[in-house]
């Protein structure tokens, strides 16, 4: 019997020492101490022994059990510590597992960046609906009755519906400025607000022309505000978008709803104003129109142009984003193509 016990002890000790994982150890434990384990076998044999040897054998079996328990516990600890050890061949250069994230449209991203910038300067954000009337799209804005922009080849007019009877025509807004009048009419001056949104023009599309595009207007109306202060606004916008100090210049330009009106150019960032293909070798890139709101525009908002003045800029976000990232086809923005959109985070 003793011999048998010794054998079991040796075998069991060996097995425990050789166990490589905690899982393996669990199996060994049940083979030694479990319901059908070797110790149970020994205990079953005890009643067959002579009475005098029974207690001895029982003691030995108990000892064996305790011994195994101790060995198992030790080995388990050993294995556990081993598991915590990081193997030397660990490859830290394997690529990371990317978190699955979505993202905002690149134009929304720039729009939100600009919103934050303008909010920090005390501007409000204004939003309006995309279908508007001829009154707000053109009449209020100093567009002559026969201005070509009113024609259907430029503006998306709606077919007549119940809202239009005996009333002016409706269209998808061709610009944002019309709705800024709505803001002027419902708020008390002085104002400073920005007005982001999509606008629509009826034209044929190609890499440089779209039917839908995103504009961003900023408007200040105040008692004292000169066009030259507008430079500060423009600089803020462009510095935010491009993340560096950009040079700007204002030159004369004509737009019906401003007087005086300006074209605003940005120093070409590709060549640092030296002249390159991107800026057509002039060193400057035309980026937005701006100016002082036309007196008729102020009047349509029931403001006295002799008392109020202001500054207005209108930024085409599509073009700005295209310039920012070197995108060469404006149609990508409305393509909903994830191969394009996934590039912007």
């Amino acid at each position: 019997m003793q011999e048998k016990i010794n054998n079991i002890l040796n075998e069991g000790t060996n097995k425990i020492k050789k166990a490589k994982t905690i899982e393996e150890l669990k199996i060994i434990k049940s083979s030694l101490l479990g319901k059908q384990g070797v110790i149970k076998d020994i205990l079953k044999e005890i009643p067959n022994l002579e009475i005098s040897k029974r207690s001895e054998a029982g003691c030995a079996a108990n000892k064996l059990k305790n011994c195994f328990n101790n060995l198992l516990k030790l080995r388990k600890e050993e294995l556990f510590f081993k598991m915590l050890e990081i193997p030397l061949d660990f490859d830290a250069t394997l690529p990371g597992i990317p978190p699955h994230t979505g993202g905002l449209h690149p134009i929304t991203q720039i729009c939100y960046d600009l919103n934050d910038t303008f909010r920090s300067m005390g501007f409000e954000i204004f939003q309006e609906q995309e279908i508007t009337s001829e009154l707000y799209a053109f009449d209020n804005l100093n567009f002559p009755k026969n201005h070509p922009a009113r024609e259907s080849m430029d503006t998306y007019w709606l077919t007549e519906h119940s809202a239009q009877k005996n009333n002016s025509r409706l269209c998808l807004r061709p610009h944002l400025t019309g709705a800024s009048i709505r803001y002027l009419q419902t708020h008390k001056p002085p104002f400073r607000f920005v007005y982001p949104g999509k606008v629509y023009r009826n034209e044929s599309t190609d890499a440089k022309h779209e039917r839908a595009f995103f504009q961003y207007e900023a408007l200040i109306v105040d008692h004292d505000f000169t066009f030259s202060s507008g430079k500060i606004i423009i600089k803020s916008i462009l510095s935010k978008v491009f993340g560096c100090d950009v040079s700007i210049r204002m030159r004369v330009g004509y737009f019906p709803f401003v007087e005086p009106g300006f074209e605003i150019d940005m120093g070409c960032l590709v060549c640092n104003k030296k002249g390159c293909r991107v800026c057509k070798y002039v060193g400057w890139i035309e980026i937005m129109p701006g100016g002082t709101p036309h007196p008729n525009v102020l009047r349509s908002a029931k403001l006295n142009p002799e008392k109020f003045t202001g500054f207005y800029v209108n930024i085409g976000l599509d073009r700005l984003v295209m310039m920012r990232y070197g995108i060469d086809d404006i149609r990508l923005f409305h393509s909903a193509d994830l191969r394009f959109l996934k590039q912007f985070n």
């Binding site: 259907s152 077919t159 998808l172 999509k198 839908a212 004292d224 000169t226 004369v252 409305h334 909903a336």
Partner: protein
Amino acid sequence: MKVSLNWIKDYVKIPKILKSSQIAYDLTMSTVEVENTMKLNEKFNNIVIGVIIEVISHPNADRLKICKTDIGNGEICEIVCGGSNLKKNMKVAVARPGAMVRWHGENNFVEIKNTKVRGVNSFGMICASSEIELFDLFPFTKEATIINLSKFDSKAGTPLSEALELDDTILEIDNKSLTNRPDLWGHYGIAREIATLYDLPLVNFKKFMPPKSATNLTVTVKNLLECPRYIGVKIEGLSIKPSPFEIQSRIWRVGVRPVNAIVDITNYVMLATGQPTHAFDFDNIKGHITVRHAFKKEKLLLLNGRELSLSEDNLIIADDESPIGLAGIMGSEKDSVLPKTNKVILEIANFNAISIRRTSTQHKIHTEAATRYEKAIDPERGDIALSLAMQLFKNSYKDIKLTSFCDNYPKHLKKNKIDVSLNWLKKQLGKHIPNKDMTNKLKRLGFEVNFNNDNMQVVTPTWRSTGDISIPSDIVEEIVRIHGLENFEATPITTTFQHATNQINIDIERKIKEYLAFRCKMREIFTYPWMDDNYIKAILQENSKKNMLSLSSPPSPSESYLCSSLLPNLCKAITNNLRFFNEFAIFESAQIFLNKVLKSCYDSQEKLPVQHRNIAGAYVGAPEKMNLLFRTLKGVIEALPYYVHVKQIIFKKNNKPIWADNVAWLNIFHNKEQIGNLALLSKKASLDCAIKKNTVALFELDIDLLKPYSSRTNKFSHILEYPTVDYDLSLLFDLSVKWDEISAVIKDEAYSNKLLHKILFIDEYKGSQVPIKKKSITFRLIIGSPEKTLTSNEIENYANSVVKRLNKTLGAKLRN
């Protein structure tokens, strides 16, 4: 528009130190956008005048000749040439090594090098006009004709650009920047701007007086509003011949092809003054000229050969028989200048801009003349055009006679008088500019200026009185641009602080978008506000069109309806992206439009349709993941109030969206209103959208109906003093039992004993491990007491009570 600086110098003396690049820059900043500055002579580098001394036969080629050519400075070189008109003593254009030519008029420029042609050395090339881009000035019909420059005085060796007066700089001006400046559509107008910018004197035109012998030319103008002025001049003693080289060269430099002296002069006058003119062959005019509206369907054969069918609002020039020209746009074939023309009627007329634009758009004819008339040029300009035209005719023809004349100008253009308050002006400018400085510049631009205390009265010149300048702000612009925008420093923006910006209704859209993008792994897309008919049919069905608005001239015939839902465009985007991706999530936030009237809150006259901000999104994946897709999207909407800070969202099954699967759908409720839907796209709709192998979970909701809280809505409760226990249960239920029913039984307060903290759904299982028609639901009870640590008996008892109740009410059994 192209502008020649040499031509400008006729009207204003430009000092030599003023570089053309500086002029281009200053014009861009203050007047019009100069897109390009081109030095014309650079095209003719290393091309000189040569005189042929001797023409020798080429030993190895019949068609080639060897020309001994004097190229100045005593240098004589041999050049091999295939020209058919080579003669001794002929002056030719010699391209020396380094010159760029188009070999035989081919597309690419080639650099000339000394070379051997059929075994004979050739030191350069004798050029044909087409090889150095001078074909329009020196046209030829016979092949291998080289330019004969014998009529020019220049000596051998003179650079070609000097000999032909091509030493010029051409400014290319962006026409768009000229649209509001009718006065700038000719060299004289640009010259006036340059004179003002640099304080230089501007040359004036002498007023032309017709000779007393001239009889009265009968011209009847039927419609004075559309033709405010009509000058007609009958000129006799003309012939068809080329115009003097100087005229040809000038108009050619700014992009107009020389034709003959009469046509070239009319073009020259237009390019110089901006006033279009037209010459009718007198002999072909039957009776008298009348300016009238066309009769219905009256025909007019234009000089470009196109026949027009006119409408009654087209203004035409007619003789007693038929139309002879589309007024201000183009002349007719029969009355234009013909090979035998020797008498013309020169027309210098003013036409109404709107009428011209309407007619040229209607017939799609865009000519240089129409372009200028469309900008509203002033009738007074006829005077300088007449003066210049007569001068040019006299210079080109020795024996011409002006025999008849008329100037129909009954109602003169009124100059605008504008009162500008100096105080207001200073505020607008942000700085003080002395009166005399303003006066000086404005006077050079043609304005009259008078001061009276705070008032500055400005009278506009006629050429700025056709709509360009009419209000004080226009004067501000004139002062600002002429003084240079760069000379106005940015003044700081001051502000009066009243309140911080707080716009929760605006911010909510951004919060939702950022939540979807950054927490829910969705990608934002942009689509158009109109829908594709196929997708309307697939998603919303044909009869929903009555609720939609439509465009009168849509981008395409199948895209005329405006979005009443964002789902059709979303599904189209899904279909398109499925070509490249199998699994993705997208969303769009945009406006929807309904055919319902809403009164505008801005103007009682205005009636606008109902428009809302909607947001819609989709998870797309494999069909076996349909449960996951649905539950993921449901989770997105469930958790939205938590992240976006709006009132609670609940789901109901009230009315199935038409595009939804029969069972997998929910209506989204918020603040007691239905605000949207959430569902799997039905199989039929999927197939109609050509989505064949994927399952799509969609939602759409109305952002305007969401009620944002004015602040964050997190709640704090004390951390539990005693531990809680997680107790997992797996029970078998009939397939028809819904989770909502199970959780309601568990949560029933009468039994909860206050021990239940939370119940969590863990898993649902159907399949071989459970009996047929049964499913196993696993959930977790989180149990604890606020008063003590629970004993295992208490925990078991509570769990057993839950099982018992579920068994009693829903027939649940423990899974073994």
